[in-house]
Symmetry: none
Amino acid sequence: MWLPIQINEQSAEPLYYQIEVQLRALIVSGQVAEGTLLPSIRELAQMLKCSVITVRRVYQDLETEGLLRTRQGTGTYVAKAAEGDRDRLRLSSVAEAMEAAITAGRRVQCTDEELRALFEEALAKDKEGR
Amino acid sequence: MWLPIQINEQSAEPLYYQIEVQLRALIVSGQVAEGTLLPSIRELAQMLKCSVITVRRVYQDLETEGLLRTRQGTGTYVAKAAEGDRDRLRLSSVAEAMEAAITAGRRVQCTDEELRALFEEALAKDKEGR
Amino acid sequence: MWLPIQINEQSAEPLYYQIEVQLRALIVSGQVAEGTLLPSIRELAQMLKCSVITVRRVYQDLETEGLLRTRQGTGTYVAKAAEGDRDRLRLSSVAEAMEAAITAGRRVQCTDEELRALFEEALAKDKEGR
Amino acid sequence: MWLPIQINEQSAEPLYYQIEVQLRALIVSGQVAEGTLLPSIRELAQMLKCSVITVRRVYQDLETEGLLRTRQGTGTYVAKAAEGDRDRLRLSSVAEAMEAAITAGRRVQCTDEELRALFEEALAKDKEGR
DNA sequence: GTGGTCTAGACCACC
DNA sequence: GTGGTCTAGACCACG
């Protein structure tokens, strides 16, 4: 099984964190369905060319969050979650990032208009890139 | 001289980084004018209740960026910068954060409308808080 | 891994600076290849008989310059650079020193011939010493 | 009395050092003759817009070197020196700088030809600037 | 008084 | 094992 996860070597963000964020997004957005059997730790480590320790940490963290479920001998599955729960999670990380951006803007005394302009700019830039 | 810098003990962000971000914002937004003599590292350390070394790191990082100028025996000043340069810096950090928010949104397959809604929500929430 | 770095205890130059200059030279001249994993800060500190912190400063400064790349848990590598970039760096420090020498000469009203003579003399003296 | 001494605010070199180097050059090159009465510490400090402490240090250092002579109540004079002595001093600082440049070159494995080219380049560049 | 260097040691995060 | 942060304290150089 293949997972669309990209690692950015240049980034200062820790490896495990990059993977975690992307895997979490795949789950809460339903791109990886409930009950799906994920690749084994070794497999995923090979796919991503990183240490098994790193992948283990990702699986563990997400299991602690209740998004994954590990069953001895069979592997790691995507856990079932209450409908509302998943959708709340889906938007919460985005909302957080949005608030961070606005905090950054306020620090340099941006007006609402400037912030809106920067938002639309970023949106347009993202469209191009894809 | 007093500087409006808040430290969040709870945050996972390193101390020096919190200070750096806020001081940088004060400078690039012109709230601390060019040529201003900043508090000595010892003074600021006392004000922020942290180690002298932590402040020193902040001053040094910002000097490397070209925002500060220090002269031994004299103190640390806000450096002069090209007009456009400063304004570019002012918005770049915000733009970056905005792009990060949108990337986070795309990962969980947000539509443009969802993103706009989250942006306005965050904006409204920020207004309340202030 | 061993690095040909000499420390001069007598010199007024700061320890970290002596190390920095020599390591930078090793990198930009290609004597330490791109992608090479450098000794850990603890190892190099032991090799050079100085504090871990002194080495850390060197690595960090060179990372800021873009010559090194460090990843937590992994170590510090020589970064990849554009070809021209590296060669430009290789000669720039020498050019700077050369200009300083000529400025010193002009201050004491040396003629071009005197400067050339001093240059050749220094060149010859260097050959002997090696 | 006026002295052609330039202070570079941007330079990382200490104030006293910049002044010392230039005043020493004026003396050993004969641009300020033996026996000349230099400006008082206060005067020179005013001329250079720096602290009297800084100028005092310069005069003291040069007196220690034997280039100056202070007489209570009358002021500071350029000392007399043996002919050869002065000429030796005149070139020694230049020779030193030249050797430093060549050391820098050897560190990045410059050939003699590269060094010569850099020397001539620096010479040409200096001619332009004047 | 200012900043700069070097030292030590503790504790944490990452792989 | 790796690097990163924060702390302390001593000593020096500059103005």
